[in-house]
Amino acid sequence: MNRERVNAPSMFASAARIFELSLGQMLWSRRSVFLGILLGGPVLLAAIVRVVVEMYARGFRINGASVAGPAVFGLIIWLLYIRFIVPILGVFFGTSLIADEVEDKTITYLFTRPIPRSAVLLGKYLAYVVCTVLLVLPSVILVFFLIVPMGGGSIAREFPSLVTDLAMLALGLVAYGAVFALVGTRMKRPLITGLVFAFGWEPAVLLFPGYLRRLTVAYYLQALVKHEMPQDSATSVLLQLFHEVPSVATSLLGLAVIVGLSLWSAGRAVENREYVLEQ
């Protein structure tokens, strides 16, 4: 076989093949198993809350005020998933898209094939999105079924909001993954930089008014949160976060720009960088 007989695969065809090659590896990696266990945390928490509420109380209360299941679910989605789990998944998977192959010394096999190096990144990024969505989805669905019926919440009525939440979580994974893929390809200590971005920069900047908050992913995800939050003093600080939220269209555009620019820049970095494997 030579190049006269076979056309070079396009960027997206190449990425699709890297995706096929990487998905299985990623799904059964130690990282996925560990993060899968982490995602069991909210389910366990939800189960405990449900049991306690069913056995000892008539409903879920925050500072004495009764809170319905859908609102609690909304809180869990925002505080636990969007602000914690999704960035964690993004950091741990996104920063290691290429780094894992370099560390395992398998990158050579991919970089000595007739495909652009950026296709390797793109294919692995797509595998990350599918892998993390598959990890998050069951956890969120289980939490939904455990929490929403509390305090008279209706699963049927709230089901459309679950679909919206899942789409928002997927968008969050897409956006954080792209940002951390960029961090992984450009920075020397990507994990630390990623964690500082997700749990230092983002929460800090979101508390202040001004334009800096537009340099976060969370700012754009806020507009997509549709849940009504419980009206009580304990959560009032959190509710402030939902002021000055952009429109849905602005959010989607902002996220698209973040994803596009991050992946483009990460691809450029991979194309130009030399990867010296330790012997």
């Binding site: 076989m1 030579n2 090659l21 590896q25 398998t106 050579t108 000595t112 495909i115 012997q279």
Partner: protein, 307 residues
């Protein structure tokens, strides 16, 4: 005939460390051996030729084109790296198929190409076995298979015989020679002259980042024959092997290390030939791994520098 590799004042450094120093060389078509001790610049040159590294200075063309950031050239190149790294959970067939499919072939064609490559390296029986369960020799051969699967014009093999058992070693050497006879070009690196010599007479000697000699191997060989050659053999019955070796005139010394016997021989060619026959007969049990430590060639280079 146009050279397959042409380097012009090629240098590569990593920060303050020089990996390759002002190398100008042309590699003709056919089988060429790249010979040098550890740290000589062999791997750096291989990585430059395979486009993994960018030259710091000078130019490098492979099959008439610059290789850095030129992925289309990999249609014509197959690379078998030195590192023992795989997707361990995949079977040999899955892995080779997945890699050859990156050349733009369909699933069906990819499987057919992978099967042919596995046949070539004699791994058909282990095609559906997970790579994680392969022996070292099998892992070397599966690496060869992924390099061969798309039938490249130029095959670049980094230490391909390391860790192979004598039979696989003999087959691989024969396969490389056959590829050369079939008009393919092969660049093969090793730190063992006798391996290279069994594949080709055309060698590049590299040391301290420079090409110190190129051309026919035989003159250098005469010098090397004066030096004892160390061979590490991992086998089932090391004591029986040792008894056999002690009856041979060319064996200068031997010692045991874990499940291996380490032999010093004055005539490596004759020793390797007998060892392969012993492995093939199986009369002294299985011989699983034959390697030669790097200090053989280091001694030769020291000797060459002195003389």
């Amino acid at each position: 005939m146009a050279p397959i590799v042409a380097a012009d004042h090629l240098s590569k450094w990593y920060g303050q460390v020089i990996g390759l120093n002002d190398v100008s060389v042309t590699v003709p078509s056919g089988v060429t051996g790249l010979l040098g001790p550890n740290g000589a610049g062999k791997s750096t040159l291989m990585k430059l030729i395979t486009g993994q590294l960018k030259p710091s200075k000078g130019s490098l063309s492979v099959l008439g084109e610059p290789i850095w950031r030129n992925p289309a050239l990999y249609f014509k190149i197959g690379f078998c790296p030195e590192q023992d790294a795989f997707y361990e959970r995949m079977t040999g067939l899955e892995w080779v198929t997945a890699l050859v499919r990156l050349n733009g072939v369909s699933e069906t064609e990819g499987v057919a190409m992978a099967r042919r490559a596995l046949e070539t390296v004699d791994l058909v029986d282990a095609a559906d076995k997970k790579i994680g369960a392969y022996s070292k020799g099998m892992r070397q051969r599966i690496k060869m298979a992924q390099a061969l699967a798309h039938d490249p014009e130029l095959l670049i093999l980094d230490e391909p015989l390391a860790g192979m058992d004598p039979i696989a070693r003999r087959k691989t050497i024969r396969m490389i020679k056959d590829l050369g006879r079939a008009g393919r070009s092969v660049i093969v690196s090793s730190h063992i002259l006798h391996e290279i010599e069994s594949m080709t007479a055309n060698i590049l000697l590299i040391n301290q980042g420079r090409i110190v000699a190129e051309g026919n191997v035989h003159q250098i060989r005469d010098l090397i024959d004066e030096h004892p050659h160390t061979v590490y053999i991992r086998a089932d019955q090391t004591r029986a092997l040792a008894r056999e070796f002690l009856t041979q005139d060319d064996v200068l010394s031997l010692k045991f290390e874990d499940e291996a016997v380490v032999v010093q021989t004055a005539r490596p060619d004759a020793f390797y030939a007998r060892l392969t026959d012993l492995a093939a007969s199986g009369e002294l049990g299985g011989i699983h791994e034959v390697t030669s430590p790097d200090d053989n060639l280091q001694a030769v280079f020291q000797y060459l520098v002195k003389s």
